[in-house]
Amino acid sequence: MRFAFTDDQLALRDAVRDLLAKECPPSEVAEAWTNATGRTTRAWEALRAMGVLDALVPEADGGLGLTVLDLVLVCEEAGRVALPEPLVEHAVVAAPVVGAGRESLTALVGAMSFVAYADTADAVLVQDDDRLLLVPAPALVLEPEPSVDHARRVFTLDWSASDAAVEVGASVACAEAIDRATLGRAAYLLGLAQHLLDATVEYASTRHQFGAPIGSFQAIKHKLADVRIALEFARPLVYRAASSIVVGDPAASVHVSMGAAQSIDAALCAARHALQCHGAIGYSYEHDLHHWMKRVWTLARAGGDASWHRERVARAILDRT
């Protein structure tokens, strides 16, 4: 029994954190809100250069041969900076199925209705009943949809007119892809929530009203304590889910949904309290707080909201005889 990450895993996390601090500062996220793609110009290539994008592909096939247990902390780091890139879709979901060397992949699996960053993808991994298909970009008919998060461009997808889709996985691979997508998103939400907490602690420590920093008022303290508690008891569920996927635990899907439900709730709680503690300043479009909040709001529903995941757990633990 050992419930901790290895030094290598922590080192990878730290390296990605450093990379993202440099390549994806808040100004890059703000830029993505208005540019043509909703994406950054630098971070994606830097992650590729580090090998992160194909990290789950076996070494023999050109990847790093890592597991989701190595990438779960990377996804969390991406959330911390609100990285506007299909990191989960490409590195966690699609590349292990499709193989290394792709420019930019995205995915539409599980309870998703929209596919993010599809207009800049070279192919989309889609779920068709319990099969996985790979649809190359030329075969895609995309309908843009207006996400509240402008750095997460989403689309509905139609590939029925084309015969270019090829099957790349059957039911087991499909179920695993859904679990990886959910896990990656859960980790990303943890990172978003952590940033929202950190930014709000910082703001509440410096903003003065009534002659004192607002963070010295119990109403603010207790809200932020609740966010910290929510994170404390969400992370272990997400990390355990990663482990369960890696060891092939038969309950992996249930563990993934437990982690998803908890991290979604933690992130929504963090967003709610972050806005309230920031007050009108956080309500301003010019302040970057809303980039994190809106990413929380979108990822909290993409691929199933917390109740969708609770229902998946319910079917496993309540309904069995």
């Binding site: 309870a111 998703m112 209705s113 929209f114 949809e145 207006p146 996400s147 509240v148 998060d149 989403v154 003065h208 009203q209 009534f210 607002i214 008022f217 109403a219 603010i220 806005l275 309230q276 007050g279 009108a280 300043i281 309500y283 301003s284 479009y285 010019e286 809303h290 709001w297 979108t298 529903r301 993409a302 691929g303 199933g304 909201d305 109740s307 969708w308 609770r310 229902e311």
Partner: protein, 381 residues
């Protein structure tokens, strides 16, 4: 206790409903928090005014109908039920208006109220400053006496001024006695935004619309007759206004009962497929809460009609409607599922607006302090 409406009130309701049915734009107007949308809304406000629906509770000479509080409630109910446009003039009509009636000179009333009612002059609120948000008494903007010109020079910065970039006038507090502290020595000024020395910069709210503005004042001159109420007594005058903001006039129950009705419709369309079996009762509870707010308002209006004056109890109301509004929209988003993330789903913008409710007009943390100290009598720190 009689919870029925009399024939005169029913007739008033029928007249309002008929007019609204015939006149409310079939297509929703563009957001009143954009420059184009604001102009379109002003056209609508003008139609309201021409039909004497803009300010029903005001005297006839200012364009009103001398309507009772009951009739005002009825009109609001019908207005929201009809899905009529947002009132972009509300900060003038609902916040400054009552203050002008209470504290304005006859000359000020005649000068400002008719154009406010018609929308010819539009008013924004100049309370908040960068360092005076929840703590309104931290205001630093100054008013310096200019004896030669018989007036005052206003300097400083106001911010989070709703629709400030589109309005013609601002009302707000300025520190007229530099030696006084906190809520003393403030004066309530009325400021045309085209006054030399005034610069307005619009900026976006959470939903991206340019609904906020910063207003910079650099020795902007206003004459003595632009003071509302007594010199240095602005806090007392303003508190009357914030009472209106929190209480009865800003958020009439019709707004929430109409939203609850929409939520019920949404549940009928999507409820069976929702992932959360608890949503059924959450929808019901939201309906119950909207109904509770409506009934509580009826009780308040009865008391006001009997001669009571609104007090710290308005803080109860503000916390309740603002948090109800958030719940109504959060339940809707939960029903929408993955479509919740789309800006055009009919609820996302409302959700973002609802999130401002617990912040503006005094954060709900401040309101709960007021309830604890002034309604319950718990000790201050």
């Amino acid at each position: 206790m009689d919870l029925t409406w009399g024939p005169a009130e029913e007739a008033f309701r029928a007249e309002a409903r008929d007019w609204l049915a015939a006149n409310v734009p079939a297509e929703p107007l563009p957001s009143g928090d954009t420059r184009e949308g604001f102009a379109r809304h002003l056209e609508w406000e003008r139609r309201l005014f021409d039909a004497r629906w803009a300010v029903v509770s005001w005297p006839q000479r200012y364009g009103g109908r001398d309507a009772s509080l009951w009739e005002w409630c009825i009109f609001e109910e019908e207005y929201y039920r009809a899905g009529a446009p947002q009132r972009v003039t509300q900060n003038g009509i609902f916040l400054l208006g009552p203050t002008l009636f209470a504290f304005g000179t006859p000359a000020q009333q005649d000068r400002f109220l008719p154009k406010m009612a018609s929308g010819e002059e539009t008013w924004c609120q100049g309370w908040s400053e960068p360092d005076a948000g929840s703590d309104l008494a931290g205001i630093r903007s100054t008013a310096v006496r200019d004896d030669a010109a018989s007036g005052w020079r206003l300097s400083g910065q106001k911010t989070w001024t709703t629709r400030g970039a589109f309005c013609t006038h601002l009302f707000g507090l300025f520190r007229s006695d530099p030696s006084a502290e906190r809520h003393r020595g403030l004066t309530y000024f009325l400021v045309p935004l085209d006054t030399p020395g005034v610069t307005v910069r619009g900026f976006g709210r959470l939903d991206g619309d340019e609904g906020f503005a910063e207003v910079f004042l650099d020795e902007a001159f206003v004459s003595d007759d632009m003071i509302l109420g007594e010199l240095h007594e602005g806090w007392r005058v303003a508190m009357a206004t914030t009472g209106s903001e929190r209480g009865l006039t800003l958020r009439s129950p019709g707004r929430f009962t109409a939203t609850a009705d929409r939520l019920v419709e949404l549940w009928r369309n999507l409820g069976e497929d929702a992932s959360d079996p608890g949503l059924r009762h959450q929808v019901v509870q939201a309906v119950i809460d909207a109904e509770a707010y409506r009934l509580q308002t009826l009780a308040t209006v009865t008391a006001l009609t009997d001669g009571a004056s609104p007090g710290a109890e308005s803080s109860l109301t503000k916390v309740f409607w603002s948090e109800l509004d958030v719940r109504l929209h959060e339940i809707a988003l939960a029903l929408l599922g993955t479509a919740a993330e789309l800006e055009d789903n009919g609820w996302a913008k409302g959700h973002q607006f609802a999130l401002s409710g617990p912040i503006y007009a005094g954060t709900n943390e401040i309101q709960r302090n007021v309830i604890a100290e002034r309604v319950l009598g718990l000790p201050r720190r």
